[in-house]
């Protein structure tokens, strides 16, 4: 496994270079490209990227039996079977009619297949499993499913993204579409592509999900953040993934 990581680590350096060379017509930039060189190096180097410790932990959890079914994730999902999965979530699970994000999907397996308690939002175990799964899509293009049932949820996400909210009366689009690249105080406003999640954020001193990032922005607007299990986040994530379609995943990302 260790060698595989090193190989993938090297691959990610090329991936980063490739992302930069995405083509002049495509103006999209990952938040990675807006960071300083030191942080880019930290993300690229698997021995320095703190997110890799969670990937490692996630790998252990993946193989550990849990719940009344006493089954591990690995009992159902063979080695390498998680490749590309993170690139297509959120998605609508079989026999369901509403989309779930990757964390929701992991918890669905916990409750339905392992018959265990769902893992708490932002808990170490949930983030580690997510990091382990997402890591296997590193370097893959974001590929939202073409499922037409997703369209209304994605449209809801787009509407939330464009609507002004909070005491400061700002929208996501105002900062991330209209003013990306400019400085908010000292910080370069990124384009808000969900390429690196879950990320290790130095400010948090922890791994965190896209949801946690979205909550931070909402709190910044002095808007009431949605509850962790709110469908609004899944809708926003659907929209953001669609907006970033074709960009390469780089999980676990590092951010300031």
């Amino acid at each position: 496994m260790r060698t595989a990581w090193i190989a993938l680590g090297l691959a990610s350096v090329f991936v980063a270079t490739f992302a930069l060379a995405q083509g002049a017509a495509d103006k999209r930039r990952s938040g990675y490209q807006d960071m300083g060189e030191a942080l880019q190096k930290m993300q690229d180097d698997d021995t320095a990227n703190p997110g890799m410790l969670f990937v490692q932990l996630g790998e252990q959890l993946f193989g550990r039996p849990a719940g009344a079914a006493n089954k591990s994730c690995a009992d159902c999902h063979g080695a390498g079977s998680m490749k590309g999965v993170a690139a297509r979530y959120p998605a609508i699970p079989k026999d369901a009619d509403k989309p779930v994000d990757l964390e929701g999907r992991i918890n669905l397996c916990r409750t339905a297949n392992q018959r265990a308690e769902p893992l708490a939002p932002e808990s170490r175990d949930l983030l580690s499993l997510e990091a382990y799964v997402a890591f296997q899509s590193r370097g893959q293009p974001i590929a939202p499913p073409s499922d037409p049932r997703l369209a209304p949820f994605r449209a809801q996400g787009a509407e939330i993204y464009r609507r002004r909210q909070g005491q400061l009366n700002l929208s996501c689009a105002i900062c991330h579409d209209d003013n990306a690249g400019k400085k908010l105080a000292g910080v370069t406003i990124p384009q808000a592509h969900p390429t690196g999640y879950p990320i290790y954020r130095l400010e948090w001193q922890a791994l965190g999900s896209l949801k946690r990032r979205l909550r931070n922005c909402l709190i910044g607007l002095r808007a009431e953040a949605y509850a962790y299990d709110a469908p609004e986040y899944v809708a926003l994530e659907l929209y953001l993934m669609d907006r970033a379609k074709g960009m390469l995943l780089e999980a676990p990302g590092v951010r300031p």
């Binding site: 909210q165 005491q167 009366n169 400085k183 908010l184 105080a185 000292g186 910080v187 709190i219 009431e224």
Partner: protein, 149 residues
């Protein structure tokens, strides 16, 4: 008190409870592109206003604007510099721009500092409160008026 010129608009503002006893104006009269009358009885203080503008969690101004406040290293590039604002605008014009810039430009990204209506999903801690109090708006206006160049 209401001078209804052809351009006059009435802004009815809910009075934040915290300073209701100080007798805030719950009706602000806009004339043309200005609010000629102060919002508070206490006159604005430029030094206090400068501190509000410089403060990242009170005025928030330097998140977007730059300004002649050299000790604050990280300033925004989303909005014009505040330098010279006092030469470009009268006190009344500055007051309206702080209170509710959307009155002049509906697409403005500048937050409405003295308005509680027409906002969505305001966090509970800020619900019904204006970003700045009437006194703070007056302090900020007094400071901006000193920025002649």
């Amino acid at each position: 008190m209401v001078r209804a010129g052809p351009l006059a608009v009435l802004l009815a503002l809910a009075a934040p409870a915290a300073w209701a006893q100080q007798g805030p104006r719950d009706v602000v009269v806009v004339e043309g592109d200005a609010i000629p009358e102060p919002l508070a009885t206490r006159p604005g203080d430029a030094a206090r206003g400068r501190a509000i503008v410089a403060n990242r969690s009170v005025g928030l101004c330097l998140l977007c604007h730059s300004g002649p406040i050299p000790e604050e290293r990280f300033q925004g590039t989303l909005a014009p510099s505040l330098a010279g604002a006092g030469a470009r605008w009268s006190v009344g014009q500055l007051r309206l721009r702080i209170v509710d810039g959307a009155r002049l430009n509906p697409d403005t990204i500048m937050p409405p500092y003295y308005r509680t209506t027409g906002l969505r999903r305001v966090a509970r801690t800020f619900e019904g409160k204006t970003i700045l109090t009437a006194e703070q708006v007056e302090d900020v206006v007094a400071y901006l008026a000193t920025l002649k160049e």
